[in-house]
Amino acid sequence: MHPALAVIFLTLFSGGGFGIMALTAIINDFQIDGGLNPLQTMVAVILSLVFVSIGMLSSTAHLANPKNAWRAFTRWRTSWLAREGVFAVLYYPFALAYLVWVFFTAGTQDAVGLILVNLAGLIGLITIFCQGMIYAVLRTIRQWNTALVPANFYVMGLAIGATILAAERMIMGAPALTLVGIALGLLVAAAVMKGIYYFWIGRPNGPTIRTATGFNRSTVRILEQGHTFGTFLTEEFGHTLPSAKARSIKFMMYIFAFIIPVAALVIGFLTGQLFFAWLAIVSVVFGIGVERWLFFVEAQHVINLYHGRQQC
């Protein structure tokens, strides 16, 4: 697949933004590490809103005809993309209402505040699910057609959110022991989940050039693709990654997405150096951005079988 930056940013930033909101709800529900004070809550909610908005705005850059984008909310009965749009928009009033409520009443943990933040967090989590299902329903791309995709989107979004919240607490000089623990747990879970995913997609098991052409009992080779230069199909679906290069990028991805954030959070917490808190945020966003790039570039659409690939 063509790794379009617009879609990478959409899933990366909106996933992280919804993760921040869901964890803000949990932290304030159970007053973890004393809960977030009004200022910390507002910073968290604003970060969540900014992240989600970056994601939503960049997704419209992916559209070739954005003047019809408003129609994308209409087919929520069948299309996961429409459902994602509906829930992403539904998130805004609750998140904004919580922000306003906390600003005027400082009520981070009163009944109204908790109802608003929990609804915003829940809608965010539903949106992440819809986002994962956009890819998981496609039978044409076996690397995506697995329940591990929404599961990965969840745990990655929550890991980004937890890392940012833990770092925020450290930067703002509040107790952060449990938050750092949550972030470490989610980062490790995300790393393991991604490992399961890579194991799962590692072996080809999809359609072959034989079933694609119907000549099931003989070897089939492409002689001519039938076009002189590229087509929409080769531009959109023709991207591949040599496996040696993929391995080295995955190694780098693991370092930036999981190892550096874990180490930075621990060192930052123990030493009180704020640099490490910032490092954790930048590293986890960059690393999971690389993960998302790999997610797209490794996806092999079955149309490639008609352009000569033996198996997808």
Partner: protein, 230 residues
């Protein structure tokens, strides 16, 4: 009614006439134009509804070239329609034709991801997805003679390798051809249940080449070929 195409891989000669006729008709049809990018330059590309690939089946000397035209299969389980968030993609209940409403499409490419057969291509100029209409503006045109109410690709095919008809009617010529010749669908394991079917090449007795007696004319020809440079 389930309108679609049956393509005979036995007789298709791979001339691309169907693709050219398709492009010619549809570039001024309902979803016109079919934009070309850099048509006379170094990197010619553009929107086509019909593409022909060429495959080699089997290994030498038991091999065979098979020409493989592909356009929209007008699937029964048209996932391209299911995933469309705007409602631009739809499948007509009355005849099963899958179409894109150019006024509603927002160009998100999602339907092209859902299509296993590469039937959908984005027009970068209009920003909308375009695809085979089964020449809906020909097959229902009461102004043209009845025998011409067929898709442009079918009418133009010089090898009669393309047939058009109702695959729901068991007695239609296309249904008979599928039944008699063992017509099949592509990638059935994905369960899109495409309407278009492909007829496999017939099994022919091989033409003997090794035990032919060399006639005098043939010998002279070989001698001339050796002497004359290409």
């Amino acid at each position: 009614m389930r309108l679609g195409l049956v393509i005979d891989l036995d007789t298709c000669v791979g001339c691309h006439a169907c693709a050219v006729a398709c492009k010619e008709w549809n570039t001024s049809g309902t979803t016109a134009p079919l934009t070309d990018y850099d048509p006379y330059g170094a990197k010619p590309s553009g929107v086509w509804f019909n593409r022909i690939r060429h495959f080699e089946i089997g290994d030498y000397p038991y091999n065979k070239t098979v020409n493989f035209p592909m356009s929209c299969m007008h699937c029964e389980n048209a996932e391209c329609v299911t995933v469309c968030p705007t409602g631009a993609s739809y499948k007509r209940a009355e005849d099963g034709i899958v179409l894109v409403d150019q006024n509603k499409c927002m160009g998100c490419n999602y339907c092209s991801w859902a299509c296993p057969y590469g039937a959908r291509e984005l027009d970068r100029v209009s920003g909308t997805m375009k695809k085979c209409t089964l020449c809906i503006d020909r097959i229902y045109d009461m102004e043209i003679p009845e025998e011409e109410r067929q898709p442009a690709c079918v009418l133009t095919c010089p090898a009669h390798a393309r047939m058009y008809g109702d695959l729901d009617d068991p007695e239609s010529p296309v249904s008979r051809a599928v039944r008699d010749r063992g017509g099949y669908q592509l990638m059935p394991e994905l369960n899109y249940n495409p309407t278009n079917h492909y007829l496999p090449p017939r099994v022919h007795a091989p033409i003997p080449t090794e035990e032919l007696k060399k006639k005098a004319v043939r010998k002279v020809k070989e001698w001339v070929n050796r002497v004359v440079e290409r």
